[in-house]
Subunit: 85 residues, 4 copies
Amino acid sequence: MDKDDYVRRLRRIEGQVRGLERMVEEDTYCIDVLTQVSAVTKALQSVAIGLLDQHVRHCVANAEGDSGDEMVTEAVKAVERLLRS
Amino acid sequence: MDKDDYVRRLRRIEGQVRGLERMVEEDTYCIDVLTQVSAVTKALQSVAIGLLDQHVRHCVANAEGDSGDEMVTEAVKAVERLLRS
Amino acid sequence: MDKDDYVRRLRRIEGQVRGLERMVEEDTYCIDVLTQVSAVTKALQSVAIGLLDQHVRHCVANAEGDSGDEMVTEAVKAVERLLRS
Amino acid sequence: MDKDDYVRRLRRIEGQVRGLERMVEEDTYCIDVLTQVSAVTKALQSVAIGLLDQHVRHCVANAEGDSGDEMVTEAVKAVERLLRS
C-alpha cells in the first residue's frame, strides 16, 4: 500500500459520506442509512489499520532507545483511541 | 435534530475525510492521521446514534404487533453491525 | 433466550476469563492472549445484544407516552456506552 | 505492569462477570445490566491494551529482519481483531 492507494481509498470514503448526505436528504429508510454508516466506519478503520501497520513497520521498529519507547507509547495510545471511537 | 442538522453534520464529516486525504498526501505524521480517523469515526457513530434514536422513537415505538416485532429485530441487528464495525 | 440461557452464557464467559488468568500466569504468547480477549469481548457483546433485544421488545415497545420516550432515551444511551466501550 | 497485576485485574473482571450472572438471575433492570457489560468490556480492552504495549515494547521492537516483519503483521492483526470485537 502506498500513499496513492490510501488517498484513493479515502476519496472513496468521501464519496460514501456524500452518499449518506443524499440518503438523509431523500429520507431513505433509517436502517439502510445505519447499514451504510457501518460500512463507512469499517472502511475508515481499515485505512487506520493499514496506516498503523506501516507506521509500526517503518517508524517504531527502526527507532532506538528512548525514542523507540516513546513511539511505542504513542502508537499504543493511538490504538486505544481507535478502540474507544 | 432534524434532517438539515444531519445533512450538515455529514457535510462536516465529508470535509474531515477530505482533510484526511490532504494529510496523507502531505505525509502528515501517521499518528496525527490516526487521531483524526478516530475523530471522524466518533462523529459518524454519533450521527448513527442520533438516527437510531429517532428511528426507535418514531417508527419502532409506534409499530404494532408482528410489524413492531420485525422492526425491533431489524433495529437490534443494525446496532450489532455498528458494534462490529 | 430465557434467563437461564443468559446465566449459562455468562458462566461460560466467566470460565473464559479464568482461562485468561491462567494464560497470563503461564506466560502464554501475548498474541494468543489478545485473541482470546477478543473472543471474550465478542461473547459479552453478544449477550448485551440479546438483552437489548428483549428489553426493547418487551419494555420499550410496550411503554406509553412520556415513559416510552424516556425508555427510548435510556436504551439509546446504553447502546452508546456499548459502542464507546 | 507485571504479570501479577494482570492476573489481579483479570480476577476482578472474573468477579464482575459473576456479578453479571447474579444481576440476570435476580432480574436486575436490563439497562443496568447493559451498563455493567460496558464496564466489563472496557476493563477487558484495557487489559488488552496493556498486554499489547508490553508485547510491542519487548518483543516486536527487539525482533529483527523477517521475524520482526512477521511480528508486526501479527500484532496489527491482533489489533484488528480487537477493533472488530
